[in-house]
C-alpha cells in the first residue's frame, strides 16, 4: 500500500469507466442516500453528481456529525465556555456553529478559553498542563470518534487526572437509518453507508435495516472510485430487485468491525436517547457516560441546562438531512445563509450539504 495506490483510487480514467458501467445498467429512477459527511464532500468535490445519469438522484443524509448536533447541545457548549475556570477543548469544526445567541468562536473572541484540538489525547494534555483549570472536551461525532473519546476517559482515570471531563453529544448511525425508513414522505431506495463508522461497527450493523426495510446497503470508501463502485453495486441490486448488504470498502471494513474499539466505547458509554437537529429525539441513538465515570461527566460536574431554544426559523436543515429537500429549496439559502454568515451547521461544516452546494453547485 503506497501513495501510488491511493492515487489510483482517484484515477479519472477509472472513474469515467465506472460511470459508463453505471449508465449501461441503470434503467429505474432511484434515490440513493449517502450517510457520511466525508462522502458528501467527496461527491461534490469530484463532480460525481454531474457525471451520473438522470436516473440516479444522490442525497446527503444525516452523516455530518456537526450538522446533526442539536441547537440545545450547541447552546450547552456555549454555556460551558462561559463558566469560570473552564477550558473548552473541541474539534475545530464546531467553532463557528451558531447557537441561539453566540458561537464558540464569538465566545473565544470575547476572551473565553476555547481550544481546538486534533485528538482527545490533546485535550488530556491540556488538562495535565493546566491543573488549576477544568478541561472539558466536547464529545461530538459518530461511532468512529466515540471510542477515541472513551479511550481518553479511561486514560484520564488511569492517570488520576481530576480536572478532565467530557460533555457527550455523540450520535449513532444505525438508529438514524431506521428513523429515515419510517419517516413520512421520505423516499430512499438505497444507502451508501459510511466507511469509517463501519470500521468500528462492522458492515453487519446494517443487516437489521436491510432485512427489516428491504433496502440495499453498501458500505463505501471515500475516493471517487469507491463511491462510484458503491453506486454501481446499489444500482445493480435495485435493477435486479435485490436488497442486500454489500461492502465495497473491504480494505478497511470487516463484517464484525473493530471489537476492541467497541468494547472501550461501551466500557465508558451506554446508549441513550439523543436529539438530532431537524429530526428530533431518536431513541437509543446517542451515548451517555456510564455512572462509573460520573466524575468525568461534564453534565454531572456543571449545571448545563439551557432554555429549550428553537432551531433557526426557516432553516430547512432537517428536511435536507432526511433527503426531502435540497439546499436551493431552503428560502434562506444564499440569501440570508452563506458560509460567511451561516444560519445552521449545514452551512458551516465543510462536510455540510448546504456548504457543499454553495461551494460547488453552479
Amino acid at each position: 500500500m503506497t501513495m501510488k495506490h491511493i492515487d489510483e483510487y482517484r484515477d479519472a480514467e477509472l472513474s469515467r469507466k465506472m460511470v459508463d458501467k453505471i449508465k449501461t445498467i441503470s434503467r429505474k429512477k432511484v434515490r440513493l442516500m449517502g450517510v457520511c459527511g466525508t462522502h458528501t464532500m467527496a461527491i461534490f468535490r469530484s463532480g460525481i453528481k454531474a457525471l451520473l445519469p438522470e436516473t440516479i438522484t444522490l442525497l446527503s443524509g444525516p452523516g455530518c456529525p456537526v450538522c446533526v448536533t442539536a441547537q440545545r447541545e450547541i447552546d450547552a457548549f456555549i454555556k460551558l465556555a462561559g463558566i469560570q475556570n473552564v477550558i473548552v477543548a473541541t474539534f475545530g469544526d464546531l467553532l463557528r456553529v451558531p447557537g441561539a445567541h453566540s458561537s464558540l468562536q464569538k465566545e473565544r473572541a470575547e476572551g473565553k478559553e476555547v481550544r481546538i484540538v486534533y485528538s482527545a489525547f490533546d485535550a488530556l494534555e491540556l488538562a495535565r498542563k493546566n491543573p488549576q483549570k477544568e478541561v472539558v472536551f466536547l464529545g461530538v461525532g459518530f461511532e468512529t470518534t466515540a471510542p477515541t473519546i472513551a479511550a481518553s476517559l479511561i486514560e484520564a482515570e488511569k492517570r488520576n487526572l481530576k480536572n478532565f471531563c467530557v460533555l457527550s453529544a455523540h450520535k449513532l448511525v444505525p438508529p438514524a437509518l431506521t428513523v429515515l425508513m419510517k419517516a413520512e414522505g421520505v423516499k430512499i431506495d438505497g444507502f451508501i453507508c459510511p466507511g469509517h463508522v463501519s470500521v468500528i461497527i462492522g458492515s453487519g450493523a446494517y443487516l437489521p435495516v436491510v432485512e427489516k426495510y428491504h433496502i440495499p446497503c453498501v458500505v463505501s470508501g471515500f475516493e471517487p472510485a469507491d463511491i462510484l463502485q458503491a453506486i454501481y453495486m446499489l444500482v445493480k441490486q435495485l435493477e435486479a430487485g435485490d436488497a442486500k448488504l454489500e461492502n465495497e470498502y473491504g480494505r478497511a471494513v470487516t463484517f464484525e468491525g473493530n471489537e476492541k474499539a467497541r468494547q472501550i466505547m461501551y466500557q465508558v458509554f451506554e446508549p441513550a436517547d439523543a436529539p438530532w437537529r431537524g429530526i428530533g429525539t431518536i431513541p437509543g441513538s446517542g451515548l451517555k457516560i456510564r455512572k462509573e465515570f460520573d466524575s468525568f461527566n461534564a453534565k454531572k460536574k456543571f449545571d448545563l441546562s439551557v432554555p429549550d431554544s428553537k432551531e433557526p426559523k426557516g432553516c430547512a436543515c432537517g428536511e435536507i438531512l432526511m433527503g426531502l429537500k435540497t439546499p436551493p429549496e431552503c428560502p434562506l439559502y444564499k440569501k440570508v445563509c452563506t458560509p460567511g454568515h451561516p444560519v445552521s451547521p449545514c452551512m458551516v461544516s465543510t462536510e455540510g450539504t448546504c456548504a457543499a452546494y454553495y461551494k460547488y453547485h453552479t
Binding site: A151, H196, R251, V253, A261
Partner: protein
C-alpha cells in the same frame, strides 16, 4: 473529517506509535487496536489507529475495481 490515507507505523512505544502519513510524521494511539507491529499500515482517526490495513486486501480491492471498470 476522516483521513482515507493509511499511515505506516514506524515506531512503537508502549501504546503510542509514530506514524508516517504520506511523508508527514505524527503520533497515534494504539489503544483501540490489537497486534500492531512496526511496518503495518493503519487507518487513523483523530489521533487513534482504528484499523490495520491488510496490504493484500488493499491490492485485491484495487484489482477488483479495475477489473469491474474494464469488464465488458
Amino acid at each position: 473529517m476522516y483521513l482515507a490515507i493509511p499511515a505506516k507505523v514506524t515506531k512503537i512505544d508502549g501504546e503510542m506509535a509514530t506514524i508516517d502519513v504520506g511523508g508527514v510524521t505524527r503520533s497515534a494511539s494504539l489503544m483501540l487496536l490489537t497486534d500492531v507491529a512496526v511496518g503495518d499500515y493503519v487507518i487513523v482517526h483523530a489521533g487513534f489507529a482504528i484499523h490495520k490495513v491488510d496490504p493484500e486486501e488493499a491490492q485485491e480491492s484495487l484489482k477488483l475495481l479495475r477489473e469491474l471498470a474494464t469488464a465488458e
